[in-house]
């Protein structure tokens, strides 16, 4: 049977609400809804699979892209994540959130691909000290069209992919995907305090890199103000 993605994806209404901005009641409803989705996947319902893919594919792709730095590898990890999830759907624990479960699978696949691409590269994030701010140009008041340009977004993405490996996921999960510190730590298999340290380092390193990029738009480089 030849798959017919578009027909299948929209042929039946499968309503799955977004998970942002919950209330307690909404959260309970969401968890119930997630279990309905898991149940549908276990019963091999193709419409539920289409909704499952639509809800999570972009999130998984963004994490993979941030960790790996290129679209082809990110696509490979996204595919591997969904395949792994479908293979283990029977053992999914109802107390977990589907998104966190998927992020964790994706994180592991991304790490495996990184090891394959760079087998001898150590994990330097645990050994480096806290970055000391050096670039002191205030670009935060640049016009929005400059700050939000496609080029600026690509510069940030490139800067994320140049971070030490462990820091990339921390920034993507917390500051892009907006996970809580606890969820971020769970996905990476580290403590919450380690997660916070990684996030802090990532932000400071990205700040240096983006200041180098945006600084030229600020105009004449200022003299460093004295503390």
């Amino acid at each position: 049977m030849t798959p017919s993605p578009l027909k299948c994806r929209w042929s039946k209404k499968v309503t799955i609400p977004l998970e942002d901005g919950f209330t307690r009641a909404a959260n309970e409803s969401y968890m119930h809804d997630e279990m309905t989705m898991i149940s549908g996947l276990r019963q091999h319902d193709p419409d539920v699979f289409a909704a499952f893919f639509d809800r999570y594919a972009d999130r998984i792709y963004r994490l993979a892209l941030g960790m790996l730095g290129n679209a082809s590898d990110a696509e490979e990890v996204t595919q591997a994540t969904f395949l792994s999830a479908l293979e283990s759907i029977a053992s999914f624990e109802p107390h977990a959130r589907v998104s966190t479960w998927l992020y964790r699978i994706a994180h592991n696949h991304a790490l495996m691909l990184l090891r394959k691409r760079h087998p001898s590269e150590p994990l330097p994030d645990e050994s480096i000290g806290m970055p000391v701010p050096e670039a002191l140009v205030d670009w935060s008041a640049l016009p929005e069209e400059r700050l939000l340009s496609e080029e600026a977004q690509e510069t940030l993405l490139a800067a994320i992919s140049e971070l030490p490996e462990g820091l990339r996921a921390a920034f993507v999960l917390r500051d892009i995907e907006q996970l809580s510190t606890a969820e971020c730590a769970h996905v990476q298999g580290i403590t919450e305090s380690s997660c916070k340290v990684r996030l802090h380092r990532a932000r400071l390193l990205l700040r240096e890199r983006l200041t180098a990029y945006f600084g030229e738009w600020v105009g004449e480089t200022r003299k460093q103000p004295q503390p």
């Binding site: 798959p3 993605p5 595919q79 670009w139 500051d175 983006l210 103000p225």
Partner: protein, 83 residues
């Protein structure tokens, strides 16, 4: 609070996870330190730009290709399971 301490606490400050006393000390320091103000504002800028990345989606061609492959695998597994 010194500049070094302010930088150490910066993420906790921005994430509203700092104790009240430390928040007050940080604000006092920031009121007189242009250097730390710049680091604060530009770090906020990094976080804000990160949030904008959430708009990034799978490129349509990759999305369709990926969906077709995964749907095929899903349907194939369903067929195996029903045999």
């Amino acid at each position: 609070m010194t500049c070094e301490e302010l930088i150490d606490y910066l993420s906790d400050y921005l994430d509203h996870e700092l104790d009240t006393d430390l928040v007050r000390a940080a604000k006092d320091h920031l009121a007189t330190c242009e250097r730390c103000q710049i680091v604060l504002h530009t770090t906020e800028g990094v976080i804000s730009l990160g949030q904008r990345q959430q708009r990034r989606i799978l490129p349509p061609a990759r999305r369709e290709r990926l969906f077709a492959r995964l749907q095929s695998a899903f349907l194939s597994a369903a067929g195996d399971g029903h045999e």
